[in-house]
Symmetry: C2
Subunit: 277 residues, 2 copies
């Protein structure tokens, strides 16, 4: 492989800003890599839409990333990973593509002692059942429950990640899981990339004995292994970071900063149109 391929960026795709929590973990794990982040903000959220529609949107987004030149793809959105990964792998058999569901399931299985795992996710991810399947495949006796925590997305986007509204919302969603102590989960999976900013609130409600896992860190490890296995790791050099969205560069930069953990300049965010692809 030529160095020009190794030094191509890694394409990171999400419905909007939530995937920036994954991008933050990728940059920590792979500081020499360049990333091109694409957020489909004109059509977010994906979590309440059907699998067929999310699959179509994801194919359009990855076509755009491929057109620009990337050496690998991270689908940094649980809903899109669940709905579109098979179609993406079929469409681009040569391209390394990973989602966040398999790494999240692996993290949950590694963390549980009782085998009782609960998934907090969007409606679409819960309905599809991809986490349940991925966990059961690794740990056949696991008891997997799931909660569609739709409001968490709006709370995270509004920046209400602490305080009474966030606490009560988390309490409402989590209460059924912990109603029967003997059946309570010992691992909660944050099955949506919008949820990590709410981790402290979720921990306060769920209690210290419950482990909270998200897929960002394990996805970064999985990507690291994949790049090494395919001899695609970048040579040491200036890592580049670029952003494109389908709508609202200013809002993306403003709201996204708290997800990425660094300032994003609105002027550095490009606008693209995916519906034309």
């Amino acid at each position: 492989l030529s160095n020009s391929v190794r030094n191509l960026p890694i394409g990171v795709f999400d419905s909007g800003i939530g995937g920036l929590t994954v991008l933050a973990a990728l940059r920590r794990q792979l500081p020499h890599e360049s990333f091109f982040y694409l957020g489909d903000t004109a059509r977010l959220p994906y979590g309440t839409k059907t699998s067929a529609t999310v699959e179509r949107y994801a194919l359009q987004a990855v076509a755009e990333l491929v057109r620009r030149g990337v050496k690998a793809i991270v689908v940094a959105c649980n809903t899109a990973s669940a709905a579109a990964l098979p179609a993406l792998l079929k469409q681009y058999p040569e391209l390394p593509i990973i989602g966040v569901i398999e790494p999240g399931a692996a993290a949950a299985v590694a963390a549980t002692r009782t085998g009782r795992i609960a998934i907090l996710a969007t409606e679409g991810t819960v309905r599809g059942g991809a986490y349940q399947r991925a966990i059961i495949q690794r740990l056949p006796h696991a008891k997997v429950s799931s909660v569609a925590a739709t409001l968490f997305v709006a709370l995270a986007e509004e920046g209400w990640i602490s305080g009474e509204v966030a606490m009560l919302t988390a309490g409402t969603y989590l209460a059924p899981l912990f109603a029967d102590a003997a059946a309570a989960p010992d691992v909660l999976v944050l099955g949506c990339t919008h949820f990590p900013p709410l981790a402290d609130v979720i921990r306060a409600v769920a209690g210290e004995r419950v482990q909270i896992v998200d897929s960002a860190q394990t996805t970064a490890l999985a990507l690291h292994e994949l790049l090494n296995a395919r001899d695609l790791a970048a040579n040491a050099g200036a890592a580049r970071l670029a952003f494109a969205v389908t709508d609202g560069e200013e809002r993306f930069a403003r709201v996204g900063a708290s997800f990425l953990g660094m300032v994003i300049e609105a002027s550095a965010v490009e606008r693209v149109d995916l519906s034309a692809r």
Copy 2:
């Protein structure tokens, strides 16, 4: 005008399900009229997107309604009314088209005694300032404030329209308006079609002395007048009601029932693709 034109349906367009609160008022006011409701559920919500993008989506939606044959258009979405009404009127100069902002502003001006009016709306509607302009045009000395109550959309869609989370959320958004009693508004405008299901909670927080107005009823009156002025009222006969969405017929039927106030059969909801227009 031939009876065949008079008996065409009225096209009602919204980003998703919120416009069903307007449709409910239209049906009460105009029981002999037929309606075709189009919800752009594949791209909702519009409230966090830019005006240019919302205008493009609205032009695509109205093109679809015109293709199917309608005698008038109601833009039953505040964000789309604010962003797209000028472009729609320019594109279809012969077609009666009304939005919800002007009727909502008229209702607010009729209701206020102090001239202090507050708008609760989405980020996009607040940013555009269309309500402020429409109110000031009618009542130049009015003092108009506005609050982007983003989470109300998610609360209404989740069905959390009473209880502690809804109360605290309303309290958080409304507190700044009522911090100084001498400057407090006497009218609150529900400037988003998702908000009427939360009216009881908003009233409980704001107090009985504040009047809450929404644009649904005044929009229905405005449409009634417009149909009469253009000699377009339907002859008495069987009023038809049809629905189309761009995604998620099942979810639309399930969540929409509480907005419309009647059961919607998922099998009666058609799927359309607007992005191809």
